[in-house]
C-alpha cells in the first residue's frame, strides 16, 4: 500500500490546458507558467473556441487531465464565449461520465484578470487531485498492429 502511495505521489500528471487570451493567460504570463506538472498550454482567443472534440482528442492521445481556463460569467471579451465554453464543458463532462472516465480529469476554472491567487490555488488543487487519481488508463497503444489484410 505504501509502495503504491509512493508511486502515485511521484507521478507528474501531463495536463493540457486551454487558456483564454483575455484573462488567465495574462496571469500565467506573470508567473512565467511555472507550475509543478507537465503542463502544456494552448492559448486561444476565447474559451468558446474549445469544443468537446478538443477534450476527447486530448484524452485519446493520453493526457492525464484537461484544464479549461476562461473568464467568469459576464466578463467575456466577446459577450457569449464563456457561455458556449460552459455548454461544451458540460457536454464533455456528461459524455465522459458515460465513458467511465473520472470526472476529476476535466476542470473548468473561471477567473478574471486580477484573480491571481484564485487561479494558482485552483490549478494546484487540480494537479494534486490528478496526482491522487493517477495516470490516464485510456491511452491507445497504436504500436501493436492488429489487422493484416
Amino acid at each position: 500500500m505504501t509502495k503504491m502511495h509512493n508511486k502515485k505521489s511521484k507521478f507528474t500528471p501531463t495536463i493540457i490546458s486551454f487558456v483564454c487570451n483575455w484573462s488567465a493567460y495574462n496571469i500565467l504570463r506573470k508567473i512565467e507558467f511555472r507550475l509543478p506538472a507537465n503542463m502544456h498550454y494552448v492559448r486561444v482567443m476565447c474559451l468558446g473556441r474549445i469544443n468537446p472534440s478538443f477534450i476527447f482528442k486530448a484524452f485519446e492521445l493520453g493526457v492525464d487531465g484537461v484544464l479549461l481556463l476562461g473568464c467568469p460569467p459576464g466578463e467575456c471579451h466577446y459577450n457569449f464565449g464563456n457561455r458556449i465554453a460552459e455548454e461544451h464543458f458540460n457536454i464533455a463532462n456528461n459524455v465522459m461520465h458515460l465513458l467511465g472516465v473520472e470526472k476529476e480529469r476535466l476542470s473548468l476554472i473561471q477567473v478574471s484578470n486580477k484573480d491571481y491567487l484564485i487561479l494558482v490555488r485552483s490549478m494546484k488543487k487540480f494537479i494534486n487531485v490528478l496526482k491522487r487519481v493517477g495516470p490516464n488508463p485510456f491511452k491507445i497503444d497504436t504500436s501493436e498492429k492488429v489487422w493484416t489484410p
Partner: protein, 380 residues
Amino acid sequence: MDAIDKAIKRTKVYYCLDCGKCTSICPIALRNPDYSPRRIVSSAIHGSHEYLLKDNLLWECLTCKMCDERCPSDVYYSEFIRDVRIEAGKIGQEGECSHGGAIQSLMRIMTQPDLKQNRLAWISEDLKVAKEGEYLYFVGCLPYFDAFFTDLNLNTISIAKSAVKILNYLGIEPVIMENERCCGHDLLWTGDIENFIRLARFNLSEIKKTGCKKLIVSCPECYTTLKIDYPKYVGDLGMDIIHISEFLAENLTDDKLKFKKSKKKVTYQDPCRLGRYSGIYEQPRDIIKAIDGLKLNEMEKNRKNAVCCGTSAWINCNSVSKQIQIDRLIEAKSTGADFLITACPKCQIHFKCAMNDRNVSKDTKIKIMDFTALVANSLE
C-alpha cells in the same frame, strides 16, 4: 500487386463500362459537379494510385450504395471506396470529420479494454432485463448521442427503451451488456481499420460471453456491421442477428402484437444500411401498415431508390449534405404526412440538424419519429 489493385479485383471495379449511371444517380454528384464515382473508378484503374489516395473527393462518397444498385456491371463501388479509404488511412489521410472528430475520438477511447462505462442508467424499473437468456439486445451508441447532441432535442435513448418495451410485451426479457462498445461502423468506413478491429474483437468476446442465441439490434448500422462485417474481419458471432423490424414482422403473423388505433399519416425513410445493404424494405412497412388507422404515404423515391440522409460515418458534412437533407425533407413533407418515420438514429440526427438551421424555410419542418419508438407507443 498492391492493396488498391486487390481492391479493384475484389470489388470488380475493372468491369466498369464507363456508362455513367452511377454519376447520374449519385446524390453527391447531382449537387457537386466535381464529384463523380465514374471518374474515381477510372483514375483508380488508369491513373496513379498515389494521386487517388490523396484525392479529397474520396471522402465525399456517402457509401449509400445507390450506384451499386444501378450499376449494370455489378461493381461494388461502396466497398471499393471503403478499401481505398483504409489504404488512404494508412498514409495519414482522413476525411473532414464533423463535430471536430469528437465522435471518432470517443470510439477510439472505447477501444480500451479497461473502460468501465456507465451506460445502463436508462434502464428504468418498468423495463425488465435479464442477466442471461436467449435474447441479447445490442444498444449501440444511443446513450452517447443524447449526451452529445444536446441542442437537437433527440431523446435517442427512447429507441432503446422502446425496444426493451416491445420485447417485454412479447414476453422476452433481453440481456443487455454493461460493457458493450460502439460496433465500429464509422471507424471502418472512415478507414481506421486498426481501431475497428480492436472494437470488433472486444464486442465479439463480450457477446459470446453472454451465451445468448439471438441478437436483436435496433440500429441499422450496428445491424450490417455485426452481420456482414464482423464475420469478414474478426469472425462469426455464432448467433442469429435480427433487426427489430424483422423480429416484429415474424411476430406479426402470429397475432401477438395488438396496436392502438391511430389517425396519423406517416412516411418512411429507408436507411441505406437497412435497405440497400440488408434488403429489409418490407418488414418495417408491414408493421406500419398493421397499426390500425395509421396511413403510410410513400415518398416518391422509396425502397431501393430512397435517398440517403446526407452524411455517413460523421465525415464531410457540408453544404451538399445540407441540400440533400433539405430536398429529402421537402419530399417527405409533400406526401402530406404528419411524421417522418426512420429506423436509423443517425438519419434522425441529420434531419433534425438540417431543420435546426435558421436559413431553412419552415416548409421543410416535419416531426421525426423513430420506427421502434412508433411501434412501442402504438402497442396496446
